[in-house]
């Protein structure tokens, strides 16, 4: 009982440490003293600008996106009672990526940078709507419809890359899909944050439902859980938060899969108790991955989605090995 009560606080402390590290570490080497002075002084200074216009929005975005991925993963694993469930399952992330990539394809992003996240949002909404229209009636059909929508969006993405108007656009699209928090301004955050926060708020109410689902769908229904409503809320919450997050940052894998697993043993595996810590830890993991992209010196930028996948994939192997041991 005590461990599960302390876990959210520990996760919050880890996140706080990651935020501080992310504010003080970066490509531009500014001493911590200068940074603090720059933040506090009313006059514009280089150090102050680095923090308020570069590192702070980056950290805020990382928190929003990481929390979306962590919480979505946690809710979906509870809803589907499947430890391998992750936010990409419902197709909304790929829908967002498709919308964003099309804005690059048609050159709209060069005219007005915010078209990329805007079209990403449209893509996420369309993908989520398609998933729901085909699979909203049962949990199994929801996953199947999500896979179908993912497949469709990936096919169109490939088509866009295939017919890229020029090599540079093709490169842009490819790079965008790898995911990144760099070159994101407060405008991006202002655009995505309302959707992300709304999605997170919806997902946060689902604790009782995912708990009751540990007894299976029949018993959950007998305990007064409305499964149709639960599925709609999950799709809506994941669609809004991960859809908006992906529209701004591109695809970022594994955080949503990994965060709930890291939390689960500490909260006695109760699904509702993984929600908040998963969100906090998801944010911390994304910040850590983002710090890594900044600290590892490479010629061209090391993309965030690449780092999370490089670290996340081995974790997936570990998960498979562990499941093989635990499963009867």
């Amino acid at each position: 009982m005590t461990a599960s009560r302390v876990t959210p606080w520990i996760a919050a402390l880890v996140l706080l440490a990651a935020v501080i590290a992310s504010l003080f570490l970066g490509r531009v080497n500014v001493s911590p003293v200068d940074l603090v002075q720059g933040m506090l002084s009313p006059n514009a200074s280089l150090a102050g600008l680095v923090v308020t216009e570069l590192r702070l929005p980056r950290a805020v975005l990382a928190i929003l996106v990481g929390a979306s991925l962590g919480l979505s993963g946690s809710v979906l694993q509870g809803l589907l009672r499947n430890p391998l469930a992750e936010p990409g399952l419902l197709g909304v992330g790929n829908g967002a990526a498709l919308g964003a990539v099309l804005s690059i394809y048609y050159g709209l992003s060069t005219a007005f940078p915010l078209t990329t996240p805007l079209l990403g949002l449209v893509g996420a909404v369309l993908a989520g709507g398609l998933t729901f229209a085909f699979g909203g009636r049962s949990t199994l059909t929801l996953i199947l419809a999500g896979s179908a929508v993912s497949g469709l969006t990936l096919a169109i993405l490939a088509l866009a890359l295939n017919f890229a108007p020029n090599p540079y656009a093709g490169y842009e699209m490819n790079i965008w899909m790898l995911g990144s928090l760099s070159e994101k301004s407060w405008d991006h955050i202002a655009l995505a944050a309302p959707f992300i926060v709304a999605g997170l708020a919806i997902l946060a109410t689902m604790g009782r439902a995912v708990d009751a689902l540990s007894l299976g769908e029949v018993q959950a229904t007998s305990l007064g859980i409305d499964l149709d409503r639960t599925r709609i809320l999950a799709l809506l919450g994941v669609g809004l938060s991960v859809g908006a997050a992906t529209s701004v940052t591109g695809s970022i894998g594994f955080i949503g899969l990994v965060a709930p697993h890291l939390v689960r043993p500490f909260v006695g595996h109760q699904p509702s108790r993984t929600l908040l810590p998963s969100a906090l830890l998801g944010a911390a993991l994304l910040l850590a991955a983002d710090i890594a992209t900044r600290m590892i010196n490479t010629e061209s930028e090391l993309r965030l989605g690449v780092v999370t996948s490089l670290v996340g994939a081995p974790f997936f192997f570990w998960l498979v090995v562990r499941l093989r041991k635990v499963a009867p």
Binding site: L215, Q219, T221, S222, L223, G224, H269, Q270
Partner: protein, 262 residues
Amino acid sequence: MTRLTATNLSVQRGGRTILDDVSCTLEAGMFVALVGANGAGKSTLLSVLAGLLKPERGEIALDGVALARIERRTLARRRAYLPQNPRAEWPISVERLVALGLTPYLPAFGGLPAMLEPRLTYAIDVCDLAAQRLQPATTLSGGELARAMLARALVGEPDVLIADEPMTGLDPRHAMDTVARLAALAANGKLVIAAVHDLTLAARYATHLMALREGRLAAFGPTSEVLTPDLLRSVFDVDAAVSGTGRRTRVDFTDVRATKGV
């Protein structure tokens, strides 16, 4: 007083009639043992009575109100349902698994309110699970899990308990404990409906016997009146002998066809 009324229930699945025009009135104080051959429609009838499956025709009412019109949480507080072979999907502790039975009483957020703790402890004790209280539910034996699930169903103190084969996988002592507990619940004014395969246990403890044959109600009434060799032959297609009365009743199947061949 709790009264569950079923009127002309019919259920079809894939062109097959599973339940055919079943009507019955079940009241508080009854421990109804539902018996029938495999595929007779027992599980379907229990799901329909619990309000979890909508029948094609007919209606079920709890105290005169159609189940479909009772709010989910209210219904969840009044009746508990235990499916066949229930499973725990995560390695949560027995204590938390049992506490899930209190879901319709919980606020939207937060842990278990302190005022509900005694109920939890009582349900765990009464199902003989005190030693397993903190054990992950996925590591329980089949019989222990069955008891944990029964505790889960009992913890909400429902007026109506509907259980699909709650004695499956239990050793003799715990099977008798369980059936005696179901009988005691009925004696305390609850309505208990359970699909039972062990006819001797049913005969000894159930106040009423309900027999299904190919989706139709073959018999329903007080156990001592209904339980006859004729009924058992028509329901199970096997010869049977009923001996003794009350808690000493015995039901023996005497398969004439098998012995004739020897």
